[in-house]
Symmetry: C2
Subunit: 341 residues, 2 copies
């Protein structure tokens, strides 16, 4: 069933059928009514490939998401889709495995779907090189900054990961913690993890405290079980530790379970804090102290940047949105160490 069949049956030419389908006003009411009737009768659906081939059309905005289990991404994504459609762009989500190459995927998508722009949720910094410009459309990296990558068509929206980590570490130190461990992602591939770790390091050194990345930082996947195993290792390696800063809420939840399975209470025996500020963090007991990344605001900001790049050809921008330290109940105030000494 093609528009040719509709044309024959309705007694009009294919051009007229096409105009009816595309809501072109230059069609008589009689023709429109008749053609619509035939279309209805056969439940005719035009062939999108032909349409797009002809129009060289593209398909709105592509969103490439690494991993299906990331609750922060889910929130960001939901809002971005709403923002895109409010701005008159359709959006198309491509989920890929955490270990797949998101830039390769973007190449495929650009070839097949010709989007106006591409949004990345999650990234391996090793995949983002200057050849991203070959995609030929504005791109946006969400929740990681791409400022240092300096790729001409890649914008980014994120919190200031360094400052946020400084803030959280400061909070732990202010609460009397000194033996603190960290659980984060693979430092060679995860830009936010290394930014957060460097924030931690700098706050330690600013306060004249020592920090041993080899012993205090454990790399883990951003999953429950990743946080769980990392915590087990830390308990074996760092006896007497009083606080753990996990670089995602999900890892923090895993870590808390590991602590409890060793008979330790949170926060009485060990304090735990997370990063992301997912909705779930506020439903746990104890409520998780964490850094909130404002998903909705980031999404809105990102979409408007990308659309500006698309419509006005603006240069890439790297926007930092404000984070927030959400005080939960998972950090214990320890006796002031200065008073002890």
């Amino acid at each position: 069933m093609t528009i040719k069949d509709i044309a024959r049956e309705s007694g009009y030419a294919v051009g007229t059928v096409s105009r009816v389908i595309n809501h072109n006003p230059n069609v008589s009411d009689a023709a429109r009514a008749r053609i619509l009737e035939v279309i209805e009768k056969y439940h005719f659906q035009p062939n999108a490939n032909a349409k797009h081939l002809k129009q060289q059309a593209n398909q709105g905005i592509a969103m490439i998401v690494k991993g299906t289990h990331n609750m922060l991404f889910a929130s960001v994504l939901e809002k971005m889709q709403a923002e895109c459609s409010a701005a008159g762009y359709s959006s198309m989500v491509f989920y890929i495995d955490e270990n797949d190459n998101e830039v390769e995927q973007a190449r495929c998508v650009c070839r097949e779907r010709k989007p106006y722009g591409v949004i990345f949720l999650g990234s391996d910094r090793n995949h983002f090189g200057p050849d991203l410009a070959d995609l030929g459309v504005p791109c946006l990296l969400m929740t990681n900054t791409a400022a240092t990558a300096a790729i001409p068509n890649l914008s980014s929206v994120s919190v200031d990961d360094v400052a946020a980590a400084v803030r959280m570490v400061g909070h732990l130190l202010d609460n009397g913690h000194r033996r603190i461990a960290f659980i984060g992602g693979d430092l060679t591939s995860s830009q936010p993890s290394s930014a957060r770790l460097s924030g931690c390091l700098s706050e330690f050194s600013r306060r004249g405290l020592s920090f041993d990345p080899a012993g205090q930082y454990i790399e883990a996947r951003y999953t429950l079980v990743g946080g769980y195993h990392a915590m087990e290792q830390l308990l074996d390696n760092l006896p007497g530790l009083t606080a753990v800063f996990a670089f995602s809420d999900i890892m923090a939840i895993g870590a808390i379970r590991a602590l409890r399975d060793r008979g330790l209470r949170v926060p009485e025996d060990v304090s735990v804090c997370g990063f992301d500020g997912i909705e779930l963090a506020d439903y746990l007991s104890p409520r998780l102290t964490t850094i909130r990344q404002p998903a909705e605001r980031m999404a809105g900001c990102g979409v408007s940047i990308l659309i500006r790049c698309i419509e006005e050809g603006c240069d890439a921008v790297h926007e930092l949105v404000p984070y927030e330290l959400l005080e939960g109940e998972s950090i214990q105030r320890l006796p002031d160490p200065n008073k002890i000494h």
Copy 2:
């Protein structure tokens, strides 16, 4: 840049270029080498719309997912994508809002992408009528049964929701609970909710106990906040209640938070159980007692059914996979009510 350009530059005809691109063996090594060289030089990517138009080709298997926040769906999806690609099918995920019409979306996708088959994760029973057959490809509903819908091209894989609810209610009753409330989805649209509720009803009546759906069952969205508000309502309406059965783990987590915010302990004051058996359930404190839907097994089963329908034109089948009651720590054993009386 089209194959015409490649043809001109390489000195061969477009047909030969096309053959190289499609790995047709009938090309001389010399031609292949030269053409590949030119393709490389320009990073040429063939236009997929033209290819698909010509081939009337389709794009593997479409997966339509309702809601981005469902952890059970995320697990099922991940496994299904792996299974599809292992079977040589590409897969394409379409996330839609929980309130959008998944069957409408499937129509769009079928028109635009011509998939071999469509998988639905999540469904509103009102959207599934006999006109689903118009899609012209085998469809599969995951985690909800479609046995009663009896649509010729719609298979389904699910647990036996009725039996699972009977089992969980029996477990609560066996533990001495009598004042039990239920939190589930909208009964007019959610097939599993009404199946589970009917299981609850039948177990109550089998044991000669009364059940008041109007008072004991609260409809909520399948979200944290949905569970939270439903629990608040129940506390207001059913004083003295000793147990709550939420029809999803996420709702159960919301309910637990609401209980604690009213100063009640779980399970000492009120027992809570969930449904789904998401990974998170086992990381909570107390660990959640729940019905495990075997995500991986369901995914594997569903994909193989769909592929059989696609390749061998089999009739739709409705498969039940075994559920499992996961005993956590969220149900309190009460004194035997028979001994009291």
